[in-house]
């Protein structure tokens, strides 16, 4: 896939002269990561599994707090996060694209993945296991399904939740703790369960 196939939108950085530049406590950010003013990333392991080769791999807007978040981004992965977001120990597993709006809160130990990482068909899974083994370095892996995850503005996601590939969560939705989301969620509803069920409105 062509890495530049997807538009790499850049969030406008705050125009306020007084606001401090964003930073990662672990040191210098990879050069294809861009974060807005007053955005803080904590956690030494934030980029431990960061392998994106995209020209723009991760864009975070202004005034966001990324506490102990894992940006596990594969070679073609691209993550976009808006302003005033607050994530604690979220694990973002991205091989294609994860788009998160502004004012989104994500609780502790929540996983968001835009792929299943391995093929479904048994024969292809054998080929994948062989390609992944130390005996077959640089062997190409079979095609693996990847589907964009979109989380709109004002979404709240509780701790221990799981958001899987292809999911689109509408603005203002409230995802209870421990919920497993495999289907789209309309705006401003409250969901919980495995699989997620609508239990009310916001």
């Amino acid at each position: 896939m062509n890495s530049e196939e997807y538009s790499d939108t850049i969030f406008p950085l705050s125009s306020e002269e007084s606001s401090k530049p964003g930073y990662w406590v672990g040191g210098e950010l990879p050069e294809n990561v861009r974060i807005g003013s007053n955005t803080i990333i904590t956690g030494e392991l934030a980029f431990k599994r960061f392998h994106s080769k995209r020209k723009s791999a991760l864009n975070i807007g202004t005034d966001s707090t990324m506490e102990g978040v894992h940006f596990a981004i594969g070679p073609d992965g691209h993550i976009e996060i808006g302003n005033y977001c607050y994530f604690t120990n979220a694990i973002l597993l991205c091989e294609l694209e994860i788009k998160i709006g502004s004012y989104v809160v994500i609780g502790w130990n929540t996983t968001i993945a835009d792929t299943d990482f391995h093929p479904i068909a048994p024969a292809e899974r054998i080929a994948d296991a062989i390609a992944c083994s130390p005996l077959n370095k640089n062997q190409p892996r079979p095609e693996i399904v990847r589907k964009k995850v979109i989380i709109e503005d004002d979404v709240w996601i509780g701790p221990n939740a799981t958001i899987l590939k292809g999911v689109h969560i509408g603005a203002g939705a409230f995802i209870e703790a421990g919920t497993l989301v495999v289907n789209d969620i309309p705006p401003r509803v409250r969901v919980m369960g495995n699989p997620a069920q609508i239990i009310g409105e916001v």
Partner: protein, 193 residues
Amino acid sequence: MVNPGGTLSWDWHPGTIPVNAVIDETAYVETTYSFVLYRSIVPVGVSIGKGTSVYKGTMFDVGNQGQVNLGNYTLLNGTRIVCDAEIKIGDYALISWNVVLMDTYRISFLPAERRQELERVSKRELRRIDANVQARPINIESNVWIGFDACVLPGVTIGEGSIVGARSVVTTDVEPYTIVAGNPARFIRRLDE
């Protein structure tokens, strides 16, 4: 020995036990890292009873007015405690890894109010959500066993002797001596008393 205000001789983290902790001399705390999110200022913010052990991965994410009480011979093995009111755990309880016990959502259910709080958070020196929303105490009675990755939501009481299955989400009270499981958790069967 685990002394309030003191360090732990076996600790890898350069922290201290909170000064407003009451910890039995026979209790074990693996690391003071468990208290990096602790900011309770009530007279006794956390109490840990006789023979109770708190292993690494356990986090006391306790707000200003939060109070956590752990009984005797209880075991916390990597539990996330989010407490702004009170979380009480009885004796002989077994609480597994990645279990979330939360007595508060910390932030409003209404998107507009969440926006205001998130804007305030971004201006704070310590980036903590502290929106003063209603917290509802959690009471986990004695001899309760909670499996890994489970969540216990605000206001829940789990009765004595009960079992909560792994990955369950407990939204309502659990009667004593029952097994519940599922997301949301539902009654599975009764246990002999």
